[in-house]
Symmetry: C4
Subunit: 226 residues, 4 copies
């Protein structure tokens, strides 16, 4: 849960660092995803592209590591930082999970704006929907990477992987294409758990919003039998 780690117990300098780096790091994580996508999707014989992709992945990951080191330093907690900011630690080791930090980016962006443009439910839906989208895309890449050459695999093209990710995130689960390798299945299990919670948030918020719209409609008219 890591309920607002940047609150009262955090040193001021760390908080400032986090506010300033949050958006650049989010952009860097998009470049990381781009590099990973290139690396996975580009055919083997196009060497220059693959080298570029690898460079992109390594450079952005070094950036994440540097940010992590600076934050350990600024926090003054030493190794205890690994435990108190466990989500950041996980995200450093598995950068494809970075979209999960989107809520902190959102907070950082909001702080600069005067007021929110969207209603509460719209913000929850757009936040959770976007995180689900990025996680789903990352999972489709990772599963395609693990599966497409495995013997007996049903996920053979990237289109299959995206189709699989859609069916998984919405819990429909047709089972026409499924991961068969242990690593592919591990990624899939992660997607199920993370994605389900996010999709649950979207569905729940949409349901609440719909009830709100209908309630507001009631209030505009003279009270009836209801």
């Amino acid at each position: 849960m890591s309920d607002q780690p940047a609150d009262s117990s955090t040193p001021l300098r760390l908080r400032r660092w986090e506010q300033r780096t949050e958006v650049p790091l989010f952009v860097a994580s998009l470049f990381f995803l781009l590099g990973y996508a290139l690396r996975v999707l580009v055919p083997d014989h196009t060497q220059p592209w693959r080298d570029l992709a690898l460079t992109l992945v390594l450079a952005t990951w070094l950036l994440f590591a540097a940010d992590y080191a600076v934050r350990i330093r600024l926090s003054g907690q030493g190794l205890r930082f690994l435990r108190t900011h466990w989500l950041d630690t996980v995200v450093l080791v598995l950068p494809l999970l970075r979209p999960l930090r989107l809520i902190q980016v959102y907070t950082a962006v909001q702080r600069r704006r005067a007021q929110p443009r969207l209603s509460l439910y719209a913000r929850v839906i757009s936040y959770a929907g976007m995180t689900a989208l990025l996680l789903g895309f990352s999972a489709a890449l990772a599963v395609y990477h693990e599966e497409h050459l495995a013997p007996g695999a049903t996920i053979r093209t990237f289109g299959d992987a995206v189709w699989w990710a859609c069916a998984t995130l919405t819990t429909v689960g047709y089972g026409d294409v499924v991961p068969v390798t242990p690593r592919g299945r591990t990624v899939a299990a992660g997607l199920m758990v993370c994605g389900l919670a996010l999709l649950g948030a979207v569905t729940g918020s949409f349901s609440s919003w719909l009830v709100q719209v209908f309630t507001r409609e009631d209030e505009k008219r003279p009270p009836g039998r209801g």
Copy 2:
């Protein structure tokens, strides 16, 4: 979300236009669906029926386009209208999504009535259920259209397509019949996302209604241990 676009920021003439055209346009969209269904379901050699269907589809779509043009004009926003009314824009390009505008039809119909006949939950359930039904039927048509002649397809009859749409909307997802073409899968992904949210609203409202019924039962008796 497009939270009541026809409120305070909308010119009066646009609002009146929308109130007057909402129901006729909804009827037109049912004719569009009928035309599309005829076009898709009628066998190839029955030329007169197919021509009628095509005429119906084109005529109703021209009506939608004309309404859209009038509304751009009345809004006085020019091309900014495309962004502020993005749901209308999407619906113009993909008229099969028109059921999503049902909530505005509902609002327009309600405005003429003195008071709602149904309880809040019943209205949410009937609105979301009806939208889900229309979207499911449209998706079944579109998927049948894309799939039934594809090599290796499992959706071969319209009955298969309806069965697939049921299993998808309820997230059961047996996977005995699934789309295999890229376009069929795109339609399917759209149905999952739209439909899930609507079904979530139905389930959530039903659950709340049930709790309400039981709570009311409690209030009728002297307070006990609870």
Copy 3:
């Protein structure tokens, strides 16, 4: 929804009739289910059992029809009764849906007791769970009846049908055994829609109950950081 049909707008005599007959009719509906189960599950050559089953089904159905006729009479509404009590009308034509009336049985039983023994959530869960159980069992019977002799069927034994009903009600939907005939699929679609809403109520109530237990735990201790 048929929000408490037996309230203020109902004649007193009809209300009394409903209170008195509700429980006997529920018992009769269990006999109906038993008869139907015997008819479906007993092998073809055991004639006496099949005759008994048929008698049971017909006798109980005649009871339901007689009750329905008496209620039309007592209501003084004539044919309008078919519309105002549409759930009862549906249940008369398809007696396997009778468990849906369980909420009225519950209300009738509660009226005789001094106070509820269970908490609100426990009652919603037990009501919805029991309805889901009865509907699932009925659907398994009906699907087994339609499917077990169909060409290409995967539901061959009653055990398969029960397994299919479990996977459908919980929306897991493995798809290893699925109905293939149009009538079997129609029953399945009905089970998905009815069952999902009921299971949604169970899940939602359980979730609320769990939050309540943890909240109560908080209140027992001196207020902390929380």
Copy 4:
């Protein structure tokens, strides 16, 4: 539901016994699970390990039985205890369901602490998530045990069983690996029902937590259009 059985209606000595034994018994149930896992997973020819596993399972089960007997004695209820503590009775017969009692362990642990370290939602999520994890692992073991030698089975390795448990708990239900024996399917149906409710609690709490975070964000700024 068995709403806090250890409250006012329970004799003081029974309550003390339960508070003292809850944590040791939970540790014993982890050993039971370990023993069962060893017994199921270790190959047939490694006799010493299998004997150790059997000893572990029997010893811990005797511990559970002894605790149950002491509690019947202390309660002074005699055989009525079987009904009033039906969850405990079920758990004694099927010790793999013991994780369901985790909520009582949690309560016992909390009582010793000054105040909760986590927010309400975080506690519900961690409780329900951990129970779901333990139940899923137990079900994977049991299903693997029943299935892996059955003719026509698709669950052949323990990895398959874990993969199946993930897909079942999240209601994705691919259906690529499914139990085929009656006993395996019974375990599966139990996992669906128990697990779904727990996962529903996790999803619901996460959704509520997300809305809370966004609401808190609103309160920090001057009230806007919202």
